[in-house]
Amino acid sequence: MARLIVMGGGVSGHTTATFAKKWLGKEHEVVVVTPNSQWNWIPSNIWVGVGQMTKKDVVFPLAPVYKKAGIDYRQAKAVSIHPEGKEGDETPFITIEYTSPDKAGQTEEISYDYLVNATGPKLNFDATPGLGNGAGQMGSHTVSVCTADHAVHANEELQKIFDKAKNGTRQKILVGTGHGLCTCQGAAFEYIFNIEHEAKKAGVRDMLDIKWISNESFMGDFGMGGLHMKVGGYVVSSKLFAESLFAERDVPWLIGAHVNKVENGKAHYELLDGTMGVEEFDFAMLIPPFAGVGIKAYAKDGSDMTDKIFAPNGFMKVDADYSGKPYSEWKASDWPRTYQNPDYKNMFAAGIAFAPPHPISKPMKSVNGTDIFPTPPRTGMPAGIIGKAVAYTICDMIKDPNAKPHEASMAEMGAACVASAGKGLTSGTAAAMTVYPVVPDFEKYPGTGRDTNYTFGEIGLAGHWIKHVLHHMFIWKAKLRPAWTLIPE
C-alpha cells in the first residue's frame, strides 16, 4: 500500500487528492494536510468584497467531503519536508503542526511514498511596510479580497465609504497591487470595477474618485505580458481594450508602480522613471506579493537543505530551467512539464506552489534599480490541470515506479478566464477571455506568442452569466457531487 500526501487543499491540491483517491481506490492512502477547515472558491471573493455574496456562498467545510471520498484529512500546516528520512530510517516524511481547535499546536510526523506540494501562496503583506502588520498578517490601513474573511471585512469598510459619500463627503478609492512584484492584477481589476458598478447602483459614483495603481508596464498586462486578439479585422493588444474600459468607467491609472510603503490613508510608490510619489486614499485594496508558505527541508543528517528544494521566493523547484537566463533568451521550454522535483522524483509541486523559471511579463527595473514588473499568474484552470496531471503521474508510478510522468506545460495549455466588471443578472458584465497558450511560445507563434485563433476576449452580460455558472459548477465539483469528474478543470 502506498501513501500519497497532498499538502494544500485549494484548487490544485484538492484536484490532485480527489482524483488520486478516485483512481487509487481503497488499496492506497491519500492524505490531505491543510491548515484550513474550509474550501474557498476564490474567484467569487470579489463579490463578497462588495457585499454581493456572503462568506457562506464561497466556502464549504472540507472534512465531510474528504470523509466521503475516503481521504485522510489533517487540519494542519506542513512545517518541514524530510525527503531522505532520518538517521536510521530512510522513509521520507513531513512534519505537520495541527491548526484544528482540538489539536492546535500539536506536531506529528507523517511518512509518505509520494508528496505533492500544493500549498499555494503566502500572502506576503509584510513585504511592503504598512501593508502588513509586521507579524505576517494584513495591516490595518488597507483591505484585501484574497480570502473570504478578508473580503467580508473589505465590504464592511467599503459600505462605510459609501455611507460617507451619501452624506456628501467625497471619497478616494485606490485599488491595485501593493508591491512591485505582485501578480493577481486580474483580481484587482475585478474588484475595482465591481466597486464602481456598486457605487453607481448606490447612487454615489459621482462622489467617488476611483484610481488604479499597479506594477504593470502597460495596462492589460495581467502578469501574462498581455495578449493579442482578433477584433474587427485587426489583431489588437489587450492594452487597448483595458485602457478603453478604464477610460469608459472614469478610472484613471498609475502603472509601472512599486508601492514601497503604506500609511494611514497614503500609499508611497516609486515609478519606473524613478519618480517617487504618494497616493492618498480613504479606502484601498492592494494585492500583496506572493511567496512560498515557508516550508523547510532537511537532509537525512538533519542539515538544512531548504535552498536545494525551494527557490529563494519559497516556491518548490520542479523540472523548469532555473538558470536565470536573460529576457531575450526566454523560451516556452523553460517552463516545467511534469512538476517533479529534480532531486526527489517522488515529490511534486502543483499550482501556485511550483517555482516558475522566470516571469511571463517583460522584467523592468526603475532607474534606481528597483524591480517593477508582474510575476506570473497561476489561474484556476492551469492549477487544476496541473493537479490532475500530477495525480495521473503518481497513480501510474504507484503501479510502476518507472512510469513516464504525464505532462502539462503552461506553454502548451490554454486558460479560460472571466473577469467580472459588475454583478447583476441583467445589468452585470464581465470580460470573458481565452488565452492559448498561457505562457507565450514565440517560436511556435511568432509575433504574439499565442494562437490568435484561440485567444480572444469580449465584455458583456454573457461573461457575467459564465462567471456565475463557473461559481456553481466548480463548487459542485469540489464537493464531489454526482458527475463531478465530468466537469473539466
Binding site: M381, I385, M413, G460, L461, W465
Partner: protein, 52 residues
C-alpha cells in the same frame, strides 16, 4: 455625445478608445448576450479540450 464625454477628462483617456452607444447597449442586450453566451462557451470548451 454622452459616451464620448470622458475623452476630455485627462490625457490618458483622450488617447484611448471609447465604445459607442450601440456597443454599450449590446453588452446587456439579453437576446444578443444569450447568443454570445453560447458562442463564448463553445470557444472556451475548445480551449479546454486543447489543454487536457
Amino acid at each position: 455625445m454622452i459616451h464620448e464625454k470622458n475623452f476630455e477628462k485627462n490625457d490618458q483617456f483622450t488617447l484611448t478608445m471609447m465604445p459607442g452607444g450601440f456597443a454599450k447597449k449590446m453588452r446587456t442586450c439579453l437576446i444578443f448576450q444569450a447568443f454570445r453566451f453560447a458562442v463564448i462557451n463553445i470557444k472556451m470548451l475548445v480551449v479546454v479540450s486543447k489543454s487536457h
